[in-house]
């Protein structure tokens, strides 16, 4: 944000992630990267490419299939002063690491009265489409937002991916880093030098006065497309990216919703006890009998993710359904659905910054 324009280039999300890690590894010998397949030729969709060559096998190494123990190893190394980045190619696999993350990583600094710190980054990717199915597609960040001691970030673009990754590596706490696989190929203007996107600060990506739309992770893309569809209907949506989910900048969202009188939260996850529930509840509590705000959540359908594309399509919010829902909130009297052909075109719009 404070970077001079001149140092910015278009960079993809995946390259931004890699650049962030490489820069920090150069700077800080305590940083290392490990996890299943981080060192193979596919390099976690390219996000760890080149790291093994540059930093060698002591700082970049694959592991056995042992998510539980490997998470413990990361925690122990962190307690000893290292700064591990533990990579998981699917967020679903974190379910094998819950005991270490919830019962040890989140609690150690407190339970041991500050005698240890757990500066750990857990990279986890949300899968989507092409038959990923029930066990390779889950965004489970809400579970981590539930437990004090953990931080959770879900950058939606290449700029924030780099800035959040650097901030996460430098943070002295365990950070669950949520990456959506469909974001990997998206690009944005990203500063060359190392910089941090601070946690706990949301961004108003698009200003607007009619409705506040919050988009989490990949849903940010869909919200921006919905913004465009709505604009054509004369509806000015204010689009907000929370970026970090724990800590959560509820204030920015609350103020915006206070201005627009309407709040639509769109998550890449289920809504029940989800990040979207947290945001709605946080705003509702703050209202305190003031002007009522019309609020709504969108997220995964309350079902299990199917593999077949016709059903999978209906499982996720998308630009058209978001725009439709927002429209219904702003103009409850009129029914409108975006023209499917037009909605498809919206998929070509990218938001590349400046941030």
């Amino acid at each position: 944000m404070s970077m001079p324009e001149s140092n910015q280039r278009l960079l993809t999300y995946v390259d931004a992630l890699r650049e962030a890690v490489a820069q920090e590894m150069r700077l800080d010998p305590r940083v290392f990267v490990f996890g299943l397949d981080v060192d193979d030729h596919k390099a976690i969709q390219g996000s760890t490419r080149g790291l093994l060559d540059e930093f060698g096998p002591e700082r970049v190494f694959g592991t056995p299939l042992s998510e539980d123990a490997m998470t413990g190893v990361a925690i122990g190394a962190a307690m000893a002063g290292m700064r591990p980045i533990h990579v998981h190619i699917r967020m679903d696999f974190l379910m094998l690491a819950m005991n270490q993350l919830v019962n040890i990583a989140a609690k150690s600094h407190y339970m041991y009265d500050g005698q240890v710190r757990v500066p750990l980054v857990v990279r986890s990717m949300i899968g989507k489409s092409w038959g990923q199915g029930a066990q390779h597609s889950q965004g489970l960040h809400a579970m981590f937002m539930h437990v004090p001691g953990l931080k959770v970030v879900a950058p939606s673009n290449a700029h924030d991916a780099k800035g959040c990754m650097i901030a996460a590596i430098r943070d002295d706490n365990p950070v669950i880093f949520v990456e959506h696989r469909l974001l990997y190929s998206t690009d944005a203007l990203v500063p060359e030098e190392a910089f941090e996107v601070p946690f706990g600060k949301a961004r108003i990506t698009m200003p607007g006065k009619d409705i506040t739309i919050v988009g989490i992770s990949n849903m940010m893309m869909e919200c921006l497309r919905a913004h465009e569809l709505l604009a054509e209907q004369g509806i000015e949506a204010e689009v907000i990216d929370p970026i970090s989910l724990m800590p959560l900048d509820i204030d920015t969202i609350r103020k915006s919703a206070g201005r627009t009188g309407r709040l639509l939260v769109v998550d890449n996850a289920w809504t029940s006890c989800g990040a979207s529930a947290e945001i709605i509840a946080g705003v509702a509590e703050a209202l305190d009998g003031g002007r009522p705000i019309h609020m709504r959540r969108m997220g995964y359908a309350p079902t299990t993710c199917p593999t077949t594309p016709v059903l999978e399509d209906a499982f996720y919010p998308n630009a058209a359904t978001i725009a439709g829902a927002a429209h219904a909130m702003v103009r409850p009297d009129k029914t409108w659905q975006p023209d499917p052909e037009r909605a498809k075109l919206a998929y070509q719009v990218k938001f590349r910054g400046p941030f």
């Binding site: 193979d40 299939l65 042992s66 199915g133 029930a134 390779h136 199917p306």
Partner: protein, 326 residues
């Protein structure tokens, strides 16, 4: 299945049945690989090409009422146990006629009608589930066994060790089948295992172990038949079989990947030479073999046609089976 083992001579009827199964799996997966670039198959596929003989050997020793638990690399075990090719193909296409109504895809095959338990895309997770199924069979005093398949990589998950201990402790009728193809995705065993003394380790739980190096389905069948006989309805307890094998294609997807750098084509050569589809096929009278091959091609064409012409599910299906009714 009721046939007895013979040391030297294997009845033609056995060879024909085993060959048919091997060939069906090989051809079905080649067909999947052929269709794949058309993008009609909407599912990540983990092919067993080169590894078929393990599932075939195991299943040939089992009875219809016995149970198998496949992995996400599960076409072979599914078909070898009698799972329907049509329903599988439709499932890969995401069609409502698929064996899981298009909701499971290749990684989550199941066919309870043939006692094929559901596969899982999370490595190792099906192992204890298979044990639970075996526990139920044992409690019911049913003379049935459960064969659970998993890769070399799955043995690194803690749940594998927990499962060995529990199966041995409870003397469950379980055949553990480790399909050791030397790799977990692209990572070879020496980067993942401190030693290769897997069978020796399993034996310390009091579980008899077998190590089969060449993928000979007849050997595998004999080992499983003996173990199953010992288990049926009794208190025999589990058995463990490590079968070395080799994956000919990439980890996931239809292609070869010997140019990727993590292994060499030369490593494939001995396995090509020892291809069990060919070896068993050559033991059949040529006419009989040709008839089997032809029948398989017809079955395949039908299955593909069925998949192609079946409809996709209706949108309402998104919400069916989230919860079971009472």
């Amino acid at each position: 299945m009721g046939l007895e083992r013979t040391e030297a001579v294997v009845p033609i009827i056995d060879l024909a049945r085993i060959y048919r199964s091997l060939r069906l799996i090989r051809r079905a997966e080649e067909e999947v690989a052929r269709i794949y670039p058309s993008d009609k198959i909407k599912s990540p596929v983990h092919l067993s090409i080169g590894q078929e003989a393990i599932a075939v050997g195991v299943c040939d020793a089992l009875r219809p009422e016995d149970v198998v638990s496949p992995t996400y690399r599960g076409h072979a075990a599914y078909l070898a146990k009698g799972g329907s090719l049509k329903l599988m193909m439709a499932e890969l296409y995401g069609k409502v006629t698929g064996v899981a109504g298009g909701k499971g895809g290749s990684m989550h095959l199941i066919e309870m009608g043939h006692n094929v338990l559901g596969a899982s895309a999370v490595v190792g997770t099906t192992i204890p589930v298979a044990l639970g199924y075996a526990l139920a069979l044992k409690r019911a005093r049913e003379p049935r066994v459960v064969a659970v398949f998993f890769g070399d990589g799955a043995t690194e998950e803690g749940v594998f060790s927990e499962s060995l201990n529990f199966a041995a402790l409870q003397k469950l009728p379980v055949v553990f089948v480790c399909e050791n193809n030397f790799y977990a995705i692209h990572t070879p065993i020496p980067k993942r295992w401190a030693t290769q003394r897997l069978c020796e380790r399993v034996a310390t739980y009091g579980i008899p172990t077998h190590h089969i190096d060449d993928g000979d389905p007849l050997k595998i069948r004999d080992v499983v038949a003996d173990a199953a006989a010992r288990m049926r309805g009794g208190d025999g307890g589990p058995v463990f079989i490590e079968c070395r094998t080799y994956r000919w294609r990439e980890h996931v997807g239809p292609n070869e990947d010997f140019d990727a750098g993590y292994r060499r084509r030369a490593d494939l050569e001995p396995w090509l030479a020892g291809d069990q589809v060919e070896i068993i096929g050559r033991r059949l009278p040529p006419g009989e073999r040709a008839a089997i091959d032809a029948a398989i091609e017809r079955e395949l064409a039908e299955a593909v046609d069925f998949a192609e012409t079946s409809p996709f599910p209706q949108r309402e299906a998104l919400y069916t089976h989230v919860y079971a009714g009472k």
